[in-house]
């Protein structure tokens, strides 16, 4: 729903991360990690990115998105599991003291710049 704003943030963070001495290099791709619990739809993000990256430093870059599963651990019994459905209570002890390990990521991991000609 708010992928346009996220795409603009991706451009800002990626642009700022290009080291000065590589300023002229074309950005081929940006590698993102997006947790399944975050409310970002990868296809929408790519669509918005292509639009708002026009005339920016990262125009033409491809977004590679790794979707991160939602994993949790139980503070009561120590069980660790991957949450597939919409239930967050522990499947072993049925306890409710669940701590999320992953699934809320919205990170830029790396970028691929074109090689020196």
């Amino acid at each position: 729903m708010h992928e346009m704003g996220i795409a603009m943030q991706v451009i800002d963070v990626a642009t700022a991360a290009i080291p000065g001495h590589l300023e002229g290099r074309k950005v081929k791709s940006i590698n993102l990690r997006i947790g399944k619990l975050s409310s970002v739809v990868p296809d929408s993000l790519r669509f918005c990115f292509d639009i708002v990256s026009k005339d920016s430093r990262v125009e033409g870059a491809k977004l590679f998105i790794e979707e991160i599963p939602v994993t949790a651990s139980c503070n009561d019994c120590g069980n660790k599991w991957t949450i597939e459905g919409p239930a967050f209570s522990c499947p072993v002890c049925k306890g409710g003291h669940t701590r999320l390990i992953s699934g809320q990521e919205l990170d830029i991991e790396s970028m691929e710049l074109e090689e020196d000609q």
Partner: protein, 222 residues
């Protein structure tokens, strides 16, 4: 060639939110972020809440909407300071971001308030993602919505530490399964308090107000 970045996309917002949090703590102000889908009754809940917090707790409100000042006008009638933020000036945003709160808060004399209530844009998706520097988040749900809302918007119900189930006066007229919604909320966020009320009929509001007062006092050590 690959270059490592390893940054959160929302870094700018998160940094700004931490600055807000520090400012509000320095000024001894408790911040509540209120979220819901459109039409769940946030403004009515807040109107009735504000009159119960006064005079003990001094309140200011930031209201977020894509457009119109209707909600701010309604809340201003309670006599508290209200600032309306229309996100269309920020690109029609579906949520309030931390920098918007920082700007809006400049309208208040923070030394003269105890709680800043932020009525977020009606939306169960995006506001859940944006930290604004608040102390507590609450989600308002109404019985005219589906019982499965918590399952459809799990992030929202995960990030909130309390839920309000509003419009319960309508239960006799609806085929609504109250037990099911309560079960769904506890599936997503086991143990969070759920305050069942009808803000309009002013029933069931007091436990919520007591909970909120307790939270405010715990932070402000009053």
């Amino acid at each position: 060639m690959e270059i490592k970045v390893v940054k959160k996309v929302l870094d700018v917002n998160n940094t700004m939110a931490e600055q807000n949090r520090k400012l509000f703590s320095d000024k001894n102000v408790f911040v509540l972020n209120v979220m819901s889908s459109p039409g769940a009754g946030k403004t009515t809940v807040l109107g009735k809440t504000i009159t119960r917090l006064a005079p003990e707790i001094r309140t200011a409100v930031i209201v977020g909407d894509i457009s119109t000042t209707n909600d701010a006008d309604r809340l201003a009638k309670t006599g508290v300071c209200v600032v309306q933020v229309n996100t269309d000036a920020f690109g029609g945003d579906c949520h309030l971001a931390a920098h918007v709160i920082a700007k809006a808060a400049e309208n208040f004399s923070l030394d003269e308030i105890d709680i800043l209530i932020v009525e977020n844009v009606g939306n169960l998706v995006c506001p859940a993602e944006f930290d604004i520097g608040e102390d507590e988040r609450v989600v308002v749900l109404s019985v005219t919505e589906g019982e499965d809302k918590p399952l459809k918007y799990p992030l929202m119900f995960r990030v909130c530490n309390a839920a309000i189930l509003n419009k319960i006066d309508l239960l006799p007229y609806l085929e609504y399964n109250r037990a099911e919604v309560l079960n769904n909320i506890s599936q997503i966020h086991p143990g969070i308090p759920v305050f069942e009320m009808s803000a309009q009929k002013e029933t069931g509001i007091d436990p919520w107000v007591s909970w909120l007062k307790m939270k405010v006092k715990a932070k402000l050590k009053k």
